[in-house]
């Protein structure tokens, strides 16, 4: 008989049905650890996404409420919101600027006084360092006091006190 014909006779071979049933039950009851791990991980990810989504939604709602309530207040009570006087605020801001200017003027006055009294000053007043200008030395003060006596312009008590305090 030809070997191929002999081989074809093996087709009827089969496993014992009892073994097949038991083996199937055992295999399927083993579970798939990798898939179980994967599904657990995916469940955790889904829960995380849900939680973060929930918190984002809550934040959005809070923001909407805040913006919405402000808009509603503006619409419902225009009188209250118009309490803010823009003109007054501007005037106040200008007044602050004026004070600064006055201070600068006063500061410049002192510097001017120094320039007037120092007869041997080589450097021009505009290149003087800010530190030297703000912290006059004792000689400078004496000089300014002395020169103030010699010059016709009499320093006020305020300017002298201010110079001394500096």
């Amino acid at each position: 008989m030809e070997p191929i014909e002999l081989l074809k006779k093996f087709k009827h071979l089969g496993a014992d049905s009892d073994y097949t049933r038991k083996s199937k039950i055992v295999i399927l009851s083993q579970g798939n650890d990798k898939l179980a791990g994967f599904s657990l991980a995916s469940r955790e990810i889904a829960a995380g996404v849900f939680r973060s989504g929930w918190s984002i939604a809550m934040t959005a709602v809070m923001l909407l409420l805040a913006i919405g309530s402000f808009s509603i207040l503006k619409i419902l009570s225009p009188a209250k919101t118009s309490v803010v006087d823009i003109g007054g605020l501007r005037a106040e801001a200008q007044a602050i600027d004026a004070q600064i200017e006055l201070t600068n003027v006063f500061y410049n006055d002192i510097l001017g006084l120094e320039n007037k009294t120092s007869t041997v000053s080589a450097a021009p007043p505009e290149v003087k360092s800010p530190k030297a200008a703000t912290v006059p030395t004792q000689n400078e003060i004496n000089a300014s006091l002395g020169s103030a006596e010699t010059t016709s312009t009499k320093p006020t008590i305020d300017s002298v006190l201010d110079a001394l305090s500096r």
Partner: protein, 193 residues
Amino acid sequence: MLDGEIKLIENAVRGKASAFGLLYDHYQPKIYRFVLIKIGRREDAEDLTHQVFLNAWQNISNYKDLGFPFSSWLYRIARNQIIDRYRTKKQEVGLEIVDEEYFSDFGLNEKNLEEKIQLERVMKAMKELKQDYQDVLIMRFVEDLSVKEVAATVEKSEGAVKLMQHRAVKELKKVLEKKMPGSENSTAAQSAK
């Protein structure tokens, strides 16, 4: 190929046990036959077949449909299991020592004793062939797989499979002739005993 096999495989890959159960029902007899012809003993074949499907179920998440049939994946697992078993058992048993005992519990429900003897003779002859030849012969003539399917399983080209098949049949014929009761080799072996 099983009806709706692609869907079943997809479900099994997702971890659906019932889908894998259906695949088991369809492919278990084929894998069992393949293992039994190569191993020769029922208990070992049952044990190995169980291991093949357990391995397949535990690693089914790694299964990628590359255009080859699902059966070729299972046959590959079976081949690797058999190779591993030969590696571990090689030192323990030699084929010559257990020849009679090895095939005594073959489990054939044959009415005809002559046919049973013939099949046992074929199995003994098969064991003398190379592993690749055995695989090709079983898959082509017992399981009726196409050349393409066999090529996918043994990871060789279709041309190489055709060549292997030709050589395997020739080799088997030669070994069977040697083992025939009336042949010279067989009589020589008888007289030596």
